[in-house]
């Protein structure tokens, strides 16, 4: 096992709870809630009314993949939020748990250690969430299949399920998550850098510093949007302009409609075309600077 792989493993062991255990608990609770709803027969009534109001056809609908595609947005949001806190915490975790001197006794530079923390945030943990999203989808499909035994209308709504569409969603989700994380990388690196300086105060400091910069700029430019505020606003927004633009016909639950939206061939090029790549690459450079500064600060630290 190489040094980098070992350092990634160390990050995984230290921070796995938010990525390995919590999503499993969330999926379990969702399935439990769904099962309870079906068991109490309330889902049946609700769905019948909904179907009637929408006037949807009585067969050939792929509600499963529709829900799965939307859930990817939820998983990406969860991953982004957890990674924000991961970076805020992990950059100073060796100091917090008093193991800084031990890691410094090993033939690994501070830059390599910080780099491995960043790499773990961009590879190991997103991969775990991606796997969870797939496990969640399978569990969801199983739940819908079982529910269709109790509630015929669910079976009708799910009768158009196409697993090839599911695979396409998963691959598209991979691209979507990776691009999203790479877009937010400078923000992750910034909060990580603040973590090395201020440890548990990193998140409040992150908010305060960015708010102060925007506020001071607003005073200087008399309330108009200054360049820094525009830059920050752009960075906080998602890397795509709109999913409607990426997925014309979003909301179409017909199997063909869903498949055309999420198919790797359609989604990925359309999505990547919307990304501001210059801003993306500049963001990586900024992230690199923050990671380097954090490692230099760590190099000068001896203890908590």
């Amino acid at each position: 096992m190489s040094a980098v792989m070992s350092l990634l493993k160390k990050e995984y062991i230290e921070h796995k709870a938010a990525f390995l255990y919590v999503p499993g608990i969330l999926i379990f609770l969702l399935l439990l809630a769904f099962s309870t709803a079906v068991w109490r027969n309330s889902a049946n009534l609700h769905l019948v009314n909904g179907v009637t109001e929408m006037g949807l056809p009585q067969s050939g609908i792929d509600i499963f993949n529709g829900i799965f595609a939307v859930s990817i947005l939820g998983w990406t949001g969860y991953l982004t939020l957890m990674l924000f806190f991961y970076f805020a915490s992990s950059f100073s975790s060796d100091r917090k748990n008093n193991s800084l001197l031990f890691w410094k006794s090993l033939p690994v530079s501070d830059l390599n250690i910080m780099g491995s923390k960043t790499l773990a945030g961009l590879t190991v943990f997103p991969l775990i969430i991606l796997i969870w999203s797939f496990v969640g989808a399978l569990a969801g499909f199983l739940a819908l299949s079982l529910a269709s035994l109790v509630s015929p209308v669910i079976g009708q709504l799910n009768s158009g399920t196409n697993f090839w569409t599911t695979i396409n969603i998963e691959i598209s989700a991979l691209v979507f998550m990776v691009v999203t994380l790479l877009w937010y990388l400078p923000l992750f690196a910034f909060v990580g850098f603040l973590g090395t300086l201020m440890r548990s105060w990193a998140v409040p400091a992150f908010i305060l510093i960015l708010a102060m910069i925007s506020g001071l700029e607003a005073i200087v430019v008399f309330g108009d949007d200054g360049p820094i505020s525009r830059l920050l606003e752009q960075r906080f927004n998602a890397p795509f302009k709109s999913l409607e633009g990426v997925s014309p016909g979003a909301g179409n639950m017909m199997p063909d409609g869903i498949h055309s939206i999420v198919s790797v061939g359609n989604f990925v090029p359309a999505y990547l075309a919307q990304v501001d790549w210059l801003g993306m690459v500049l963001g990586w450079f900024v992230a690199g600077v923050f990671v380097y500064l954090a490692s230099e600060y760590r190099r000068r630290r001896l203890a908590a």
Partner: protein, 294 residues
């Protein structure tokens, strides 16, 4: 590195924290195959000097460890240097087996099988989480880890702090029997100087950031002599300007610097001074350094 070359070369090492200078241009060498004790009071500058050797802090002056400048080359240096600065610094969230696995991947000179061998006979279970280990077990585990690293220099900064005497004795005996060989050097700092006296080949005393003694144990035995002075010889003994005088069980004990053995034996019963007595003698002496401690 050629044989018999110095493992550590320190020249004019100074370190300031703000306006306070804690090391004042100290010089010393550590050749291959020696066990050095770096002894001093709290705040004397021992840990700062060690941190400079290990590349953990910047400094003024020249430091070379295994031919490398430590501060700019810490990661490379740690391939051949192992250290324990604080036994409580092992990562508490890992299990023992996980830690050994990670070290096998991270450290090119770490042998997991050697570590497992060293842990045999201890109460440490591989499945135990490090945070669940007692302080003694932590020290045993940390020692097993550094002893499983094929390093040329081992630095131990107060490695047995807070441990009971049985364990401290075992710790140092194991170090000497299972680790030390001609190709390695060890640098130890501790407050329990008497406990490491038997394993030291050289001694450095540091006081207020300055080295007050840097000599091999043989040279120390030749240079310093302790005399239990007979009552009738007390005045004669005082004329020889002892560097240390104490009354123990009604007996006058004096330590002399450079007094020939035959002259000393005329004053009373002679013996080589213990490291702790010599430490007290040299540390309590005025910086100018000639007056006896009365």
């Amino acid at each position: 590195m050629p044989e018999n070359e110095n493992i550590v070369e320190v020249k004019g090492l100074s370190k300031k924290f703000g306006a306070t200078e804690v090391l004042h241009e100290i010089d010393f060498l550590i050749p291959q195959g020696r066990i050095y004790g770096l002894i001093g009071h709290n705040g004397a500058g021992k840990t700062t000097a060690i941190n400079a050797l290990l590349g953990l802090t910047d400094y003024q002056g020249s430091v070379r460890v295994l031919g490398l400048e430590p501060y700019q080359n810490r990661a490379e240096l740690m391939r051949n240097v192992a250290f324990i600065s604080d036994v409580a610094s092992l990562p508490r969230f890992l299990k023992v087996s996980q830690l050994l696995d990670l070290l096998e991947g991270i450290h090119p000179n770490f042998s997991q099988s050697k570590a497992l061998e060293l842990l045999e006979g201890t109460d440490i279970r591989l499945g135990a989480t490090i945070k669940a280990l007692s302080k003694g077990m932590l020290a045993q585990l940390h020692l097993a880890i550094v002893m499983a690293i094929d390093a040329k220099l081992l630095v131990l900064d107060e490695p047995t702090l807070g441990l009971d005497i049985t364990f401290r004795k075992k710790f140092y005996r194991r170090l000497l029997e299972d680790y030390m060989n001609e190709g390695r050097s060890i640098l130890i700092t501790t407050h329990q100087v008497d406990e490491i006296e038997f394993l030291l080949s050289d001694l450095i005393f540091i006081r207020e950031g300055k080295i007050v003694l840097d000599a091999s144990m043989q040279d120390i035995a030749r240079r310093y002599i302790q005399v239990s002075v007979r009552e009738e010889k007390l005045n004669d003994a005082k004329e020889q300007k002892p560097i240390y005088t104490a009354r123990v069980l009604g007996q006058s004990i004096m330590i002399f610097d450079g007094l020939p053995e035959d002259e000393a034996s005329e004053l009373g019963t002679t013996a080589p001074p213990s490291v702790s007595d010599l430490f007290v003698a040299l540390m309590e002496r005025e910086p100018a350094g000639t007056g006896a401690v009365q």
